[in-house]
Protein backbone atom coordinates (compact mmCIF):
# COMPACT_ATOMS: atom_id res chain seq x y z
CA UNK A 1 0.00 0.00 0.00
CA UNK A 2 1.33 3.36 -1.01
CA UNK A 3 0.60 6.75 0.57
CA UNK A 4 -1.63 9.37 -1.05
CA UNK A 5 -0.44 10.25 -4.55
CA UNK A 6 -1.24 13.72 -5.89
CA UNK A 7 -0.16 12.88 -9.43
CA UNK A 8 -2.45 9.85 -9.29
CA UNK A 9 -5.35 11.98 -8.06
CA UNK A 10 -4.89 14.68 -10.69
CA UNK A 11 -4.22 12.08 -13.35
CA UNK A 12 -7.68 10.56 -12.88
CA UNK A 13 -9.49 13.87 -12.45
CA UNK A 14 -10.05 14.20 -16.18
CA UNK A 15 -10.18 10.45 -16.91
CA UNK A 16 -12.54 9.79 -19.81
CA UNK A 17 -13.49 6.34 -18.52
CA UNK A 18 -14.67 7.86 -15.22
CA UNK A 19 -16.30 10.79 -17.00
CA UNK A 20 -18.22 8.28 -19.07
CA UNK A 21 -19.39 6.68 -15.83
CA UNK A 22 -20.55 10.07 -14.57
CA UNK A 23 -22.48 10.60 -17.78
CA UNK A 24 -24.18 7.24 -17.26
CA UNK A 25 -25.07 8.40 -13.75
CA UNK A 26 -26.64 11.51 -15.25
CA UNK A 27 -28.85 9.76 -17.77
CA UNK A 28 -29.81 7.05 -15.29
CA UNK A 29 -31.01 9.87 -13.02
CA UNK A 30 -32.75 11.83 -15.78
CA UNK A 31 -34.65 8.86 -17.18
CA UNK A 32 -35.57 7.42 -13.78
CA UNK A 33 -36.84 10.71 -12.40
CA UNK A 34 -38.90 11.35 -15.53
CA UNK A 35 -40.42 7.88 -15.64
CA UNK A 36 -40.83 7.92 -11.86
CA UNK A 37 -42.61 11.25 -11.99
CA UNK A 38 -45.01 10.07 -14.69
CA UNK A 39 -45.83 6.89 -12.78
CA UNK A 40 -45.85 8.78 -9.47
CA UNK A 41 -48.35 11.25 -10.86
CA UNK A 42 -50.64 8.44 -11.98
CA UNK A 43 -50.31 6.78 -8.56
CA UNK A 44 -51.12 10.07 -6.81
CA UNK A 45 -54.25 10.53 -8.91
CA UNK A 46 -55.28 6.96 -8.12
CA UNK A 47 -54.75 7.46 -4.41
CA UNK A 48 -56.85 10.62 -4.49
CA UNK A 49 -59.74 8.74 -6.10
CA UNK A 50 -62.83 8.23 -3.99
CA UNK A 51 -63.19 4.81 -5.60
CA UNK A 52 -61.54 2.28 -3.28
CA UNK A 53 -60.93 -0.16 -6.14
CA UNK A 54 -58.72 2.52 -7.75
CA UNK A 55 -57.10 3.92 -4.62
CA UNK A 56 -56.22 0.60 -2.98
CA UNK A 57 -53.79 -0.73 -5.63
CA UNK A 58 -51.90 2.58 -5.55
CA UNK A 59 -51.77 2.45 -1.78
CA UNK A 60 -50.42 -1.11 -1.94
CA UNK A 61 -47.79 -0.19 -4.52
CA UNK A 62 -46.52 2.75 -2.49
CA UNK A 63 -46.52 0.69 0.70
CA UNK A 64 -44.54 -2.09 -0.99
CA UNK A 65 -41.90 0.03 -2.69
CA UNK A 66 -41.35 2.44 0.19
CA UNK A 67 -41.20 -0.40 2.65
CA UNK A 68 -38.46 -2.44 0.98
CA UNK A 69 -34.86 -1.47 0.15
CA UNK A 70 -34.23 -0.32 -3.41
CA UNK A 71 -31.17 -2.59 -3.35
CA UNK A 72 -33.42 -5.61 -2.84
CA UNK A 73 -35.80 -4.40 -5.56
CA UNK A 74 -32.92 -4.13 -8.03
CA UNK A 75 -31.56 -7.58 -7.25
CA UNK A 76 -35.02 -9.12 -7.51
CA UNK A 77 -35.58 -7.49 -10.89
CA UNK A 78 -32.20 -8.52 -12.27
CA UNK A 79 -31.69 -11.95 -10.75
CA UNK A 80 -35.18 -12.96 -9.58
CA UNK A 81 -37.38 -12.18 -12.56
CA UNK A 82 -35.53 -14.51 -14.97
CA UNK A 83 -36.99 -17.33 -12.88
CA UNK A 84 -40.40 -16.18 -14.18
CA UNK A 85 -39.05 -16.03 -17.72
CA UNK A 86 -38.60 -12.25 -17.65
CA UNK A 87 -35.03 -11.55 -18.64
CA UNK A 88 -33.98 -7.89 -18.54
CA UNK A 89 -30.59 -6.45 -19.44
CA UNK A 90 -28.51 -4.65 -16.83
CA UNK A 91 -29.54 -1.26 -18.18
CA UNK A 92 -33.22 -2.21 -18.33
CA UNK A 93 -33.11 -3.60 -14.79
CA UNK A 94 -31.36 -0.50 -13.44
CA UNK A 95 -33.81 1.90 -15.09
CA UNK A 96 -36.83 -0.14 -14.09
CA UNK A 97 -35.72 -0.58 -10.47
CA UNK A 98 -34.86 3.08 -9.96
CA UNK A 99 -38.03 4.33 -11.70
CA UNK A 100 -40.39 2.02 -9.82
CA UNK A 101 -38.82 2.94 -6.50
CA UNK A 102 -38.76 6.65 -7.23
CA UNK A 103 -42.41 6.58 -8.34
CA UNK A 104 -43.51 5.47 -4.88
CA UNK A 105 -41.83 8.46 -3.23
CA UNK A 106 -42.84 10.96 -5.89
CA UNK A 107 -46.47 9.80 -5.68
CA UNK A 108 -46.58 10.95 -2.08
CA UNK A 109 -44.92 14.26 -2.94
CA UNK A 110 -47.38 14.91 -5.76
CA UNK A 111 -50.33 13.90 -3.62
CA UNK A 112 -49.30 16.23 -0.80
CA UNK A 113 -48.90 19.07 -3.32
CA UNK A 114 -52.36 18.53 -4.75
CA UNK A 115 -53.95 18.30 -1.31
CA UNK A 116 -52.30 21.58 -0.30
CA UNK A 117 -54.33 23.52 -2.89
CA UNK A 118 -57.34 24.95 -1.01
CA UNK A 119 -60.75 23.41 -1.80
CA UNK A 120 -62.08 26.92 -2.49
CA UNK A 121 -59.90 27.08 -5.59
CA UNK A 122 -61.51 23.93 -6.96
CA UNK A 123 -64.97 25.29 -6.21
CA UNK A 124 -64.16 28.56 -7.95
CA UNK A 125 -62.93 26.74 -11.03
CA UNK A 126 -65.96 24.44 -11.12
CA UNK A 127 -68.28 27.42 -10.63
CA UNK A 128 -66.81 28.85 -13.84
CA UNK A 129 -67.95 25.73 -15.69
CA UNK A 130 -64.58 23.98 -15.88
CA UNK A 131 -64.64 20.19 -16.00
CA UNK A 132 -62.63 17.91 -13.70
CA UNK A 133 -59.57 17.51 -15.93
CA UNK A 134 -59.55 21.23 -16.76
CA UNK A 135 -59.70 22.13 -13.08
CA UNK A 136 -56.78 19.79 -12.43
CA UNK A 137 -54.73 20.98 -15.40
CA UNK A 138 -55.26 24.74 -15.19
CA UNK A 139 -55.97 25.48 -11.52
CA UNK A 140 -54.81 22.70 -9.18
CA UNK A 141 -51.60 21.44 -10.80
CA UNK A 142 -49.96 24.82 -11.41
CA UNK A 143 -50.45 25.68 -7.76
CA UNK A 144 -49.45 22.20 -6.59
CA UNK A 145 -46.28 22.40 -8.69
CA UNK A 146 -44.95 25.27 -6.61
CA UNK A 147 -45.27 23.04 -3.56
CA UNK A 148 -43.95 19.95 -5.35
CA UNK A 149 -40.81 21.49 -6.87
CA UNK A 150 -38.61 21.77 -3.73
CA UNK A 151 -39.08 18.15 -2.55
CA UNK A 152 -38.87 16.98 -6.17
CA UNK A 153 -35.51 18.73 -6.43
CA UNK A 154 -34.35 16.90 -3.32
CA UNK A 155 -35.40 13.65 -4.96
CA UNK A 156 -33.21 14.42 -7.97
CA UNK A 157 -30.30 15.14 -5.64
CA UNK A 158 -30.92 11.86 -3.81
CA UNK A 159 -31.29 9.89 -7.01
CA UNK A 160 -27.98 11.22 -8.40
CA UNK A 161 -26.35 9.38 -5.49
CA UNK A 162 -28.72 6.41 -5.28
CA UNK A 163 -27.84 5.42 -8.86
CA UNK A 164 -24.58 4.12 -7.38
CA UNK A 165 -26.57 1.19 -5.99
CA UNK A 166 -26.98 -0.16 -9.52
CA UNK A 167 -23.27 -1.01 -9.42
CA UNK A 168 -24.27 -4.21 -7.60
CA UNK A 169 -25.96 -5.48 -10.74
CA UNK A 170 -22.83 -4.38 -12.65
CA UNK A 171 -24.35 -1.27 -14.17
CA UNK A 172 -21.31 0.70 -15.37
CA UNK A 173 -22.06 4.00 -13.77
CA UNK A 174 -19.60 6.19 -11.88
CA UNK A 175 -19.14 4.03 -8.78
CA UNK A 176 -18.79 0.78 -10.74
CA UNK A 177 -16.19 2.26 -13.05
CA UNK A 178 -14.33 3.69 -10.07
CA UNK A 179 -14.22 0.25 -8.50
CA UNK A 180 -13.02 -1.34 -11.73
CA UNK A 181 -10.17 1.18 -11.96
CA UNK A 182 -9.29 0.60 -8.31
CA UNK A 183 -8.95 -3.13 -8.92
CA UNK A 184 -6.50 -2.40 -11.73
CA UNK A 185 -4.53 0.49 -10.26
CA UNK A 186 -4.82 0.06 -6.46
CA UNK A 187 -5.25 3.80 -5.89
CA UNK A 188 -8.22 3.43 -3.58
CA UNK A 189 -8.40 6.85 -1.91
CA UNK A 190 -7.35 8.83 -4.96
CA UNK A 191 -10.00 7.25 -7.16
CA UNK A 192 -12.75 7.47 -4.57
CA UNK A 193 -11.82 11.14 -4.06
CA UNK A 194 -12.20 11.75 -7.78
CA UNK A 195 -15.57 9.94 -7.78
CA UNK A 196 -16.70 11.99 -4.77
CA UNK A 197 -15.74 15.18 -6.59
CA UNK A 198 -17.77 14.09 -9.62
CA UNK A 199 -20.80 13.42 -7.45
CA UNK A 200 -20.35 16.79 -5.73
CA UNK A 201 -20.08 18.56 -9.08
CA UNK A 202 -23.31 16.95 -10.26
CA UNK A 203 -25.31 17.64 -7.10
CA UNK A 204 -24.01 21.21 -6.90
CA UNK A 205 -24.91 21.88 -10.51
CA UNK A 206 -28.37 20.47 -9.81
CA UNK A 207 -28.76 22.74 -6.74
CA UNK A 208 -28.17 25.67 -9.05
CA UNK A 209 -30.76 24.47 -11.57
CA UNK A 210 -33.25 23.73 -8.79
CA UNK A 211 -33.00 27.26 -7.39
CA UNK A 212 -33.72 28.70 -10.82
CA UNK A 213 -36.76 26.45 -11.26
CA UNK A 214 -38.09 27.36 -7.81
CA UNK A 215 -37.73 31.04 -8.58
CA UNK A 216 -39.67 30.56 -11.81
CA UNK A 217 -42.58 28.83 -10.09
CA UNK A 218 -42.62 31.34 -7.26
CA UNK A 219 -42.78 34.36 -9.56
CA UNK A 220 -46.45 35.24 -9.09
CA UNK A 221 -45.98 34.92 -5.34
CA UNK A 222 -42.65 36.70 -5.18
CA UNK A 223 -44.10 39.84 -6.76
CA UNK A 224 -47.04 39.60 -4.38
CA UNK A 225 -44.73 39.35 -1.36
CA UNK A 226 -42.66 42.27 -2.58
CA UNK A 227 -45.80 44.33 -2.95
CA UNK A 228 -46.99 43.48 0.57
CA UNK A 229 -43.60 44.42 2.01
CA UNK A 230 -43.73 47.61 0.04
CA UNK A 231 -47.04 48.74 1.56
Amino acid sequence: MQVWSWPGFFGYLGNTYLLGGAITTLWLTAISITAGLALGFALAMMRLSRNRAIAAPAFFYIWLFRGTPVLVQLIVIYTGLPQLGIRLSVVQSALLGLSLNEAAYLAEIVRAGILAVPAGQVNAARALGMRGPQVMRHVVLPQALRIIVPPLGNSVNGLLKTTSITSVISMEELLRRTQILIQQKFMVLELFAVAALYYLAMTTAWDFVQRRIERRFGRAYATAAAEVNHR
Binding site: A124, L128, P142, Q143, A220, E227
Partner: protein, 242 residues
Protein backbone atom coordinates in the same frame (compact mmCIF):
# COMPACT_ATOMS: atom_id res chain seq x y z
CA UNK B 1 -85.54 32.13 -14.00
CA UNK B 2 -84.57 30.23 -10.80
CA UNK B 3 -87.23 27.99 -9.20
CA UNK B 4 -86.39 26.25 -5.92
CA UNK B 5 -89.04 23.71 -4.85
CA UNK B 6 -89.16 21.92 -1.49
CA UNK B 7 -85.36 21.64 -1.36
CA UNK B 8 -83.96 19.13 1.14
CA UNK B 9 -80.27 18.51 1.82
CA UNK B 10 -78.47 16.32 4.30
CA UNK B 11 -74.83 16.12 5.34
CA UNK B 12 -74.76 12.52 6.46
CA UNK B 13 -77.66 12.28 8.87
CA UNK B 14 -77.82 16.03 9.57
CA UNK B 15 -80.46 17.89 7.57
CA UNK B 16 -79.15 21.35 6.69
CA UNK B 17 -81.89 22.45 4.26
CA UNK B 18 -85.52 21.74 5.08
CA UNK B 19 -88.19 22.18 2.44
CA UNK B 20 -86.86 25.45 1.05
CA UNK B 21 -89.07 26.94 -1.65
CA UNK B 22 -88.46 30.25 -3.40
CA UNK B 23 -87.97 31.71 -6.85
CA UNK B 24 -86.02 34.48 -8.51
CA UNK B 25 -87.43 36.14 -11.60
CA UNK B 26 -85.37 37.51 -14.43
CA UNK B 27 -83.80 40.80 -13.39
CA UNK B 28 -84.75 40.31 -9.77
CA UNK B 29 -82.34 40.82 -6.87
CA UNK B 30 -82.93 38.60 -3.83
CA UNK B 31 -80.97 38.99 -0.62
CA UNK B 32 -80.60 35.92 1.58
CA UNK B 33 -79.81 36.53 5.23
CA UNK B 34 -79.95 34.67 8.49
CA UNK B 35 -77.77 33.55 11.40
CA UNK B 36 -74.49 31.71 10.91
CA UNK B 37 -75.01 28.06 10.04
CA UNK B 38 -78.58 28.59 8.83
CA UNK B 39 -77.78 27.12 5.41
CA UNK B 40 -77.40 30.23 3.22
CA UNK B 41 -74.17 29.14 1.55
CA UNK B 42 -75.45 25.62 1.11
CA UNK B 43 -78.62 26.92 -0.54
CA UNK B 44 -76.82 28.94 -3.21
CA UNK B 45 -74.25 26.19 -3.80
CA UNK B 46 -77.18 23.92 -4.61
CA UNK B 47 -78.37 26.39 -7.24
CA UNK B 48 -75.30 25.84 -9.44
CA UNK B 49 -74.87 22.22 -8.43
CA UNK B 50 -71.66 22.72 -6.45
CA UNK B 51 -73.45 20.83 -3.68
CA UNK B 52 -75.78 17.92 -4.43
CA UNK B 53 -79.19 17.78 -2.75
CA UNK B 54 -81.40 14.85 -1.91
CA UNK B 55 -84.95 16.17 -2.13
CA UNK B 56 -86.94 18.69 -4.15
CA UNK B 57 -85.91 20.40 -7.35
CA UNK B 58 -84.14 23.46 -8.69
CA UNK B 59 -84.81 24.80 -12.17
CA UNK B 60 -82.48 27.36 -13.72
CA UNK B 61 -83.82 28.71 -17.00
CA UNK B 62 -85.92 25.57 -17.23
CA UNK B 63 -82.90 23.26 -16.70
CA UNK B 64 -83.26 20.88 -13.76
CA UNK B 65 -80.07 21.08 -11.63
CA UNK B 66 -80.62 17.78 -9.86
CA UNK B 67 -81.65 15.73 -12.88
CA UNK B 68 -79.33 12.86 -13.82
CA UNK B 69 -78.76 13.93 -17.42
CA UNK B 70 -78.02 17.60 -16.69
CA UNK B 71 -74.59 18.74 -17.81
CA UNK B 72 -73.61 20.63 -14.68
CA UNK B 73 -70.40 22.23 -16.00
CA UNK B 74 -72.23 23.89 -18.88
CA UNK B 75 -74.99 25.00 -16.51
CA UNK B 76 -72.41 26.48 -14.13
CA UNK B 77 -70.73 28.29 -17.00
CA UNK B 78 -73.91 30.37 -17.29
CA UNK B 79 -74.26 31.13 -13.56
CA UNK B 80 -71.67 33.44 -12.05
CA UNK B 81 -70.54 32.87 -8.47
CA UNK B 82 -68.63 35.16 -6.13
CA UNK B 83 -67.13 33.84 -2.91
CA UNK B 84 -66.46 35.36 0.47
CA UNK B 85 -62.72 34.66 0.13
CA UNK B 86 -62.49 35.85 -3.52
CA UNK B 87 -60.81 32.64 -4.73
CA UNK B 88 -58.85 34.31 -7.48
CA UNK B 89 -56.26 31.97 -9.01
CA UNK B 90 -53.01 33.16 -7.42
CA UNK B 91 -50.76 31.73 -10.13
CA UNK B 92 -52.47 33.75 -12.88
CA UNK B 93 -52.44 37.47 -13.54
CA UNK B 94 -55.69 39.40 -13.26
CA UNK B 95 -56.09 39.09 -17.02
CA UNK B 96 -55.31 35.37 -16.81
CA UNK B 97 -58.00 34.98 -14.17
CA UNK B 98 -60.56 36.62 -16.44
CA UNK B 99 -59.62 34.79 -19.64
CA UNK B 100 -58.99 31.20 -18.43
CA UNK B 101 -62.58 29.97 -18.37
CA UNK B 102 -63.60 32.09 -21.36
CA UNK B 103 -61.03 30.22 -23.41
CA UNK B 104 -61.23 26.73 -21.91
CA UNK B 105 -64.98 26.60 -21.30
CA UNK B 106 -66.52 28.96 -23.86
CA UNK B 107 -63.85 28.35 -26.49
CA UNK B 108 -63.21 32.02 -27.14
CA UNK B 109 -59.85 32.83 -28.70
CA UNK B 110 -57.23 34.79 -26.79
CA UNK B 111 -58.02 38.09 -28.50
CA UNK B 112 -61.77 37.89 -27.90
CA UNK B 113 -61.25 36.76 -24.31
CA UNK B 114 -58.87 39.54 -23.36
CA UNK B 115 -60.99 42.18 -25.08
CA UNK B 116 -63.96 41.03 -22.99
CA UNK B 117 -61.77 40.88 -19.88
CA UNK B 118 -60.41 44.39 -20.34
CA UNK B 119 -63.88 45.80 -20.92
CA UNK B 120 -65.07 44.26 -17.65
CA UNK B 121 -61.99 45.37 -15.72
CA UNK B 122 -62.75 48.85 -16.93
CA UNK B 123 -66.32 48.46 -15.71
CA UNK B 124 -65.20 47.52 -12.18
CA UNK B 125 -62.60 50.30 -12.20
CA UNK B 126 -59.50 48.12 -12.42
CA UNK B 127 -58.37 48.58 -16.02
CA UNK B 128 -54.90 49.61 -14.84
CA UNK B 129 -54.35 46.38 -12.91
CA UNK B 130 -54.76 43.79 -15.69
CA UNK B 131 -51.16 42.59 -15.59
CA UNK B 132 -50.87 42.34 -11.81
CA UNK B 133 -51.17 39.18 -9.76
CA UNK B 134 -54.01 38.78 -7.23
CA UNK B 135 -51.55 38.94 -4.32
CA UNK B 136 -50.66 42.49 -5.35
CA UNK B 137 -54.23 43.76 -4.95
CA UNK B 138 -56.21 44.85 -1.90
CA UNK B 139 -59.16 42.74 -0.77
CA UNK B 140 -61.69 45.09 -2.31
CA UNK B 141 -59.83 45.07 -5.61
CA UNK B 142 -59.58 41.28 -5.55
CA UNK B 143 -63.31 40.93 -5.01
CA UNK B 144 -64.03 43.30 -7.89
CA UNK B 145 -61.74 41.18 -10.09
CA UNK B 146 -63.67 38.10 -8.94
CA UNK B 147 -66.95 39.75 -9.98
CA UNK B 148 -65.46 40.68 -13.35
CA UNK B 149 -64.21 37.10 -13.76
CA UNK B 150 -67.73 35.78 -13.24
CA UNK B 151 -69.22 38.40 -15.59
CA UNK B 152 -66.73 37.49 -18.31
CA UNK B 153 -68.71 34.28 -18.84
CA UNK B 154 -71.80 36.36 -19.73
CA UNK B 155 -73.89 34.69 -17.02
CA UNK B 156 -77.69 34.73 -16.94
CA UNK B 157 -77.60 35.05 -13.14
CA UNK B 158 -75.11 35.82 -10.39
CA UNK B 159 -74.74 34.21 -6.96
CA UNK B 160 -72.91 36.08 -4.20
CA UNK B 161 -71.88 34.38 -0.97
CA UNK B 162 -71.09 37.09 1.60
CA UNK B 163 -68.92 39.00 -0.87
CA UNK B 164 -68.00 41.72 1.61
CA UNK B 165 -67.63 39.89 4.92
CA UNK B 166 -63.90 39.25 4.48
CA UNK B 167 -63.20 42.90 3.66
CA UNK B 168 -61.90 45.77 5.75
CA UNK B 169 -64.74 48.24 6.34
CA UNK B 170 -63.29 50.91 4.05
CA UNK B 171 -63.35 48.46 1.11
CA UNK B 172 -66.93 47.25 1.48
CA UNK B 173 -68.50 50.09 -0.45
CA UNK B 174 -66.38 49.75 -3.58
CA UNK B 175 -67.68 46.17 -3.90
CA UNK B 176 -71.28 47.05 -3.04
CA UNK B 177 -71.16 49.84 -5.65
CA UNK B 178 -70.20 47.33 -8.34
CA UNK B 179 -73.02 45.02 -7.23
CA UNK B 180 -75.51 47.88 -7.16
CA UNK B 181 -74.57 48.92 -10.70
CA UNK B 182 -74.96 45.31 -11.79
CA UNK B 183 -78.42 45.13 -10.26
CA UNK B 184 -79.43 48.37 -11.95
CA UNK B 185 -78.31 46.89 -15.28
CA UNK B 186 -80.93 44.20 -14.75
CA UNK B 187 -78.76 41.27 -13.65
CA UNK B 188 -80.60 38.44 -11.90
CA UNK B 189 -78.90 38.08 -8.52
CA UNK B 190 -79.03 36.05 -5.33
CA UNK B 191 -76.89 37.72 -2.65
CA UNK B 192 -76.13 36.18 0.69
CA UNK B 193 -75.15 39.24 2.69
CA UNK B 194 -75.57 40.96 6.00
CA UNK B 195 -75.26 44.39 4.42
CA UNK B 196 -78.77 45.52 5.27
CA UNK B 197 -78.27 48.95 3.70
CA UNK B 198 -77.57 47.25 0.38
CA UNK B 199 -80.56 44.94 0.87
CA UNK B 200 -82.87 47.88 1.56
CA UNK B 201 -81.67 49.89 -1.42
CA UNK B 202 -81.15 47.21 -4.03
CA UNK B 203 -83.02 44.00 -3.20
CA UNK B 204 -86.50 43.35 -4.49
CA UNK B 205 -87.03 40.58 -1.98
CA UNK B 206 -85.42 39.33 1.20
CA UNK B 207 -85.27 35.66 2.11
CA UNK B 208 -84.66 35.06 5.80
CA UNK B 209 -83.31 31.64 6.80
CA UNK B 210 -82.83 29.97 10.14
CA UNK B 211 -81.80 26.38 10.90
CA UNK B 212 -82.16 25.26 7.31
CA UNK B 213 -85.62 26.72 6.78
CA UNK B 214 -86.85 29.74 4.86
CA UNK B 215 -88.87 31.63 7.48
CA UNK B 216 -89.61 34.78 5.51
CA UNK B 217 -89.63 35.53 1.81
CA UNK B 218 -91.05 38.98 1.20
CA UNK B 219 -90.51 42.26 -0.61
CA UNK B 220 -87.62 43.99 1.11
CA UNK B 221 -89.67 47.03 2.18
CA UNK B 222 -92.12 44.72 3.97
CA UNK B 223 -89.35 42.67 5.55
CA UNK B 224 -87.54 45.67 6.97
CA UNK B 225 -90.78 47.49 7.80
CA UNK B 226 -92.30 44.69 9.86
CA UNK B 227 -90.62 41.28 10.06
CA UNK B 228 -93.25 38.60 10.68
CA UNK B 229 -91.30 36.12 12.75
CA UNK B 230 -89.68 36.65 16.13
CA UNK B 231 -86.47 35.10 14.89
CA UNK B 232 -86.20 37.57 12.00
CA UNK B 233 -86.91 40.44 14.41
CA UNK B 234 -84.24 39.20 16.80
CA UNK B 235 -81.79 38.73 13.92
CA UNK B 236 -82.43 42.22 12.56
CA UNK B 237 -82.06 43.95 15.88
CA UNK B 238 -78.81 42.09 16.51
CA UNK B 239 -77.37 42.95 13.13
CA UNK B 240 -78.53 46.58 13.03
CA UNK B 241 -77.38 47.50 16.51
CA UNK B 242 -74.01 45.88 16.81
Amino acid sequence: MIEIQDLGKWYGSVQVLKGCTTHVDKGEVVVVCGPSGSGKSTLIKCVNGLEPFQRGSILVNGVSVGAVGTDLPSLRARIGMVFQSFELFPHLSVLGNLTLAQRKVLGRNATEASARARALLDRVGLAAHAEKYPGQLSGGQQQRVAIARALAMDPVAMLFDEPTSALDPEMINEVLDVMTALAQDGMTMICVTHEMGFARRVAHRVVFMDQGEILEDRPSADFFGAPETDRARAFLSRILHH
